[in-house]
Chain length 149, copies 4
């Protein structure tokens, strides 16, 4: 991998200080074409009815997929989200929520992936709470692998 | 309309205290099958590069469409977002961003609409920054128009 | 399962005579919350450049997910597609294309699922050619399991 | 415009012979960042229940938006659909269906647009039957405007 869990954690802390300050977003794993990002349960993410808010879930899916791209391309890449489609399937419980992210394609210009937002229940079984697919525009890179600026 | 701009403002203040406290989200207009929601420019919504964050734009589109539904159905309806698809088209500037929302369909079970996120430039011309379509599940209502609980 | 591969094949032949007459669409598998539908390679599905057309891929994903729903609910259900989002990832080759379909949710009113459109290469390795997620509206059913008409 | 209605009609006849042979798809209009494509009512597009099939509507939206792009860029551009999201809103009647297409963005690498699929009723009023948004990848062009091959 171009970036480890520690590299990604440090990168997010610098690039997304608001996420990092909250301490709620934790990089659990990075692997070829994939990543896992955890959102620790906190009252801030709640919306009426005691459920986790849509924007918090959007953020988790989007940043999780961004981590999967960074793991492949390294920190120079400033990928930009161009499309995100999210289906909200079940009311999440008041527990940690994990984005299991997998890239379908990492092309020269576009990356496409899916994020399954899952929660572990009291019995340890995982429930799919929401599912997103997203497309990212990859900036042109020089032949040495660095971003062209 | 079942709810006026003032009704919607009071409703959001009660139901979404975090949005309301910020003072950033302002209901500009509600009309048949449509609504306009404004996000006042504030440093909080920024992400690296000085642009407005994706989650803030998601929230603006989602809450704006929710206002259009509430305007038609009244405050009893607890519509739930089931799908939201958003295209990010241009980097927004550091200015107010307005969601111009229009319902395509308001059925018994599903509502579908689109939100155009626009900014007025220094010359007054509007630029389309992002565009979302979303589906909401409408809870069953009694024949008298009230929600069945 | 409420319907077997043979049941589904007979159902599609009756309900979608155009698909069935072509002989191109074959139900490979039905299992809990899932199904596999194969589109045999045929010149008719080509578009300029020798690739399989977008509408053919749309049909494969849509009918494949419909089979997964029918397998769970039985032939009385007239589920209707309300939303379909498809990402085209790679040019398909001139070979069979299989929709591997999985339901994320089968609720009382909505079903949501994903279809991975894959091709086996000459070396047997599978390539993901396109990926779709879709939502279906489920008609009200009587308590005995039959559709309410 | 780089291409007129007649240019587009001739282009589609050559590039999409199957569409053209049917005689069902008619370019009604091309204008800056927009186009209208009509699908003449024909029994072939029907699905069970006497309604127009989803794949036919997919095709109408996709080809209509492609026409809007061709009108701007000319026939050299081989734009490729990368994402299409479609909401089916109402059962279409057994009448012509028109895709009113508008580009939201025509960038160097990506084009994004929306297609409203409408039908004129017996009273002349238009009904929105389906709504799609789609993204196209634009191939690199030489500085003289021609496609780089």
């Amino acid at each position: 991998m171009m970036m480890s869990v520690d590299d990604l954690t440090a990168f997010l802390a610098k690039e997304y200080p608001q996420l990092a300050e909250s301490g709620d977003f934790v990089v659990d794993e990075v692997a070829p074409m994939s990543a896992k990002l955890r959102m620790r349960y906190d009252r801030r993410h709640l919306r009426p009815g005691g459920t986790i808010s849509g924007p918090s879930m959007f953020t988790l899916a989007d940043v999780g997929l961004y981590c999967a791209i960074l793991g492949e391309l390294g920190p120079v890449a400033m990928a930009v989200t161009t499309n995100l489609n999210i289906n909200f399937l079940r009311m999440p419980g008041q527990r940690d929520l994990v984005a299991v992210c997998r890239l379908h394609k990492l092309g020269k210009r576009l990356a496409v992936g899916e994020a399954s937002l899952v929660q572990a229940g009291p019995d340890g079984r995982e429930t799919l709470v929401a599912h997103a697919t997203a497309t990212y525009s990859i900036p042109p890179r020089s032949s040495s692998g660095g971003a062209v600026i």
